[in-house]
């Protein structure tokens, strides 16, 4: 199903648009290279964009699964690590404060901001020991960075504001081979680490005590998993902005289709679903309001979320089983955050307190 979806949307992404290249002529167009207009458009614009979409989606999906498994929480999303807010800050600050920077430094700033946000979360998360404490710290760091971004947004003039807003939504427009090649070194670091950490993840979801009994140092493993997620997310957000909800949706989809499997098998599926979601969302993003580009992030939120909800709800017993496994919160954890009030009925989940791009959007 993923393969079919990916193939269909890839062909659509490559052939639709101006100029329209019929599917059977695609290979010829690429082989012709830069001698014809169609060849240039396909090989210089559409192929890198497609590659970038699938790589970004795969990274976000895998990072989402790593986070959700390591923190044992179905609501852990990459946006909560402060990585995307940091990257947005790195993009917005030079625009608004009117620094004059050489063009070579600008992409580095976004990556620097993303690394700053993620690193800050990791550093502060050293205090909190339990998974939910880590999530809360991530939310706090994201909110603080968001506040800085809000100050910049209020100060910005109309044009800068448009640029920042588009970046915040996550857009793939006008990305070239340079952006794609910039991603490879990061992937080379992250992929082996992912393979190494997948078995540990399936142990971590048993709970800290069981994991310790099996010989895994839970704290250290969790921090390592977080670091891997940061390495996966940072370059992607730096290049195409925080594409919303992919890191949330992809792991849930992969679990829904294979409820019985473990983290090791979910990981590739989650990456594949992430890629599929972004590639599919990029087609309407490019074509819906043509010639105006719409950000892919808006489409992942608009199409992806209802589709995911419908899937998860319609599944009957299968879906229910999947939901039970995914939404299993830490047992016996019905402690309200506040004192004095009667406790809530069930196990509460972490605060989704970032009033950030989610609300800003």
């Amino acid at each position: 199903m993923v393969a079919v979806l990916l193939a269909v949307s890839s062909v659509c992404a490559l052939s639709l648009g101006t100029p329209y290249v019929p599917p059977h002529r695609l290979v010829a167009a690429v082989l012709e290279g830069d001698t014809t207009l169609a060849g240039i458009v396909v090989s210089e614009l559409r192929v890198p964009r497609l590659l970038l979409a699938s790589v970004a989606g795969a990274c976000l999906g895998a990072a989402g699964l790593v986070l959700q498994e390591a923190l044992r929480n179905p609501l852990a999303v990459p946006e909560m690590l402060g990585v995307s807010s940091g990257a947005a800050l790195g993009v917005a600050a030079p625009l608004v404060l009117a620094f004059s920077l050489p063009a070579a430094v600008q992409p580095l700033l976004a990556i620097g901001g993303a690394a700053l946000g993620g690193g800050l979360t990791l550093l502060v998360a050293g205090i909190g020991r339990s998974p939910s404490a880590v999530l809360l710290t991530g939310a706090a760091v994201a909110a603080a960075l968001q506040a800085a971004l809000l100050v910049l947004m209020v100060m910005a003039d109309q044009l800068d504001l448009q640029l920042i807003y588009r970046y915040l939504l996550g857009s793939l427009s006008a990305r070239t081979w340079d952006d794609v090649t910039g991603l490879w070194p990061w992937l080379l670091v992250a992929a082996p680490a992912l393979v190494l950490c997948a078995p540990v993840l399936s142990v971590l979801r048993l709970g800290d005590e069981d994991a310790e009994a099996l010989g895994v140092r839970a704290q250290r493993a969790r921090l390592a998993a977080l670091a891997i997620a940061v390495v996966l997310i940072a370059p992607v957000t730096a290049v195409c902005g925080p594409v919303a909800w992919v890191g949330f949706l992809a792991p849930h989809l992969s679990r829904w289709f294979a409820p019985a499997a473990g983290a090791v098998r979910w990981l590739p599926w989650s990456a594949a679903w992430g890629a599929a979601v972004v590639v599919v969302a990029d087609v309407p993003a490019r074509l819906a309001l043509a010639p105006v580009e719409t950000p892919a992030g808006a489409w992942t939120a608009l199409l992806g979320v209802p589709a995911g909800v419908a899937l998860m709800r319609s599944g009957g017993r299968r879906g229910a089983a999947a939901r039970r496994t995914t939404a299993a919160p830490p047992a016996g954890a019905a402690q309200p955050v506040h004192r004095g009030g009667p406790g809530p009925g069930g196990p509460p989940s972490p605060p989704l307190g970032t009033t950030g791009p989610e609300d800003v959007r």
Binding site: A133, L136, Q158, F248, T294, V309, G340, P351, T355, P357
Partner: protein, 335 residues
């Protein structure tokens, strides 16, 4: 208990005084002179037409958001059910933005904005209600669905802003949350709305206290839990929509102030509901005063006139600090 209320009221008065004095361009002495009937026309205009309505709007919006948060948390029995998480705030923002983009509302017609924000907030809450379906009682499920609803509404807002890119500059204050440039018109719209729904929330305080204890106890005490919850949700949506239409999506107030109020005034809503209103007013007003003071200091330090600190940024920082505090104090607890 009375002493706590008095202390909080005194704090509110102090915050209000600081807020009146804190703005740019006038020294405290001049403000005092103007309040005593002196000053020239410009100074009188600044104090009476700009600063006083701003102060009142900040107080009213803070109270509205805090009460809405407390009502939501009690009705859904979920400590995380702030207005942001239940789709009410994103819906209200969507309504306000759509009305502005369609040209139905603008700065000359604040009433239309309030109505549009209210409709949007109701739509957001209704969407969550439909989506949650049978799993309504489960706080974790409600939170998941609330996040999803917020995502969809946020995507819609983005789409509206993409179709009408020229409006982005004029709606950014709803997205951020600021009290810049609020005038008497906003206050005249806010206070009747806030008063009506605030009184409604106060009348619901008893049933809500029962709902906090659980549906079984509420039913045993003779309360029609379903009807009380629906009324409470309606009340919370209306209060949030009013506040969002006045000051925009102020982060964290609706989520954290109720916890503060419950910690100070106890879980009996008949006392903690007014307490929450007072606390919310103090927090927003104090944050606004602090934002004005610090942006004044920063502007003189960095020598740039453009720098203004929106109050939304400051409340987000406050929320972050409080979250970190919670984590530090209970490092190993699962929430």
């Amino acid at each position: 208990m009375t002493r706590r209320f008095t202390a909080l009221a005194a704090l509110a008065v102090v915050c209000a005084a600081v807020e009146v004095v804190a703005g740019r361009g006038m020294s405290p002495g001049v403000v005092w002179e103007v309040l005593n009937g002196g000053g020239d026309a410009t100074e009188r205009h600044i104090v009476f037409q700009l600063r006083l309505p701003r102060l009142l709007v900040a107080l009213g919006a803070g109270a509205c958001l805090a009460v809405a948060g407390l009502v939501l948390q009690s009705a859904l029995r979920n400590p995380l059910a702030g207005p942001e998480v239940t789709g009410v705030t994103p819906g209200a923002v969507l309504g306000a933005v759509t009305a502005t983009a369609l040209g139905l509302a603008g700065w000359d017609a604040p009433l239309a904005v309030v109505l549009a924000a209210c409709a949007g907030g109701c739509a957001g809450a209704a969407l969550l209600w439909l989506l949650a379906g049978r799993g309504r009682g489960d706080p974790a499920q409600t939170a998941v669905h609330g996040v999803l609803v917020s995502a969809v509404l946020g995507g819609l807002t983005a789409m509206v802003l993409l179709v009408e890119p020229g409006e982005l500059g004029s709606v950014v204050q709803w997205l951020v949350g600021t009290t810049e440039g609020r005038v008497w018109e906003h206050w005249h719209l806010l206070w009747p709305w806030a008063l009506v729904w605030g009184v409604a929330a106060w009348l619901l305080a008893g049933p809500l206290t029962l709902l906090r204890c659980g549906d079984d106890i509420a039913l045993a005490a003779g309360l029609s839990a379903h009807r009380a919850r629906t009324l409470a949700l309606l009340c919370a949506v209306a209060l949030t929509a009013g506040a969002v239409a006045a000051v925009g999506a102020l982060g964290f107030i609706g989520l954290l102030v109720p916890h503060l109020a419950v910690a100070v005034f106890g879980a009996d809503l008949r006392r903690s509901l007014p307490g929450a209103a007072l606390t919310g007013a103090v927090v927003v007003c104090g944050a606004d005063a602090a934002a004005q003071l610090s942006s004044r200091l920063l502007a003189t330090a960095l020598d740039s006139g453009r720098l203004t600190l929106p109050v939304g940024a400051l409340t987000a920082c406050l929320g972050a600090a409080l979250l970190l505090l919670v984590v530090r104090r209970t490092p190993s607890r699962t929430f």
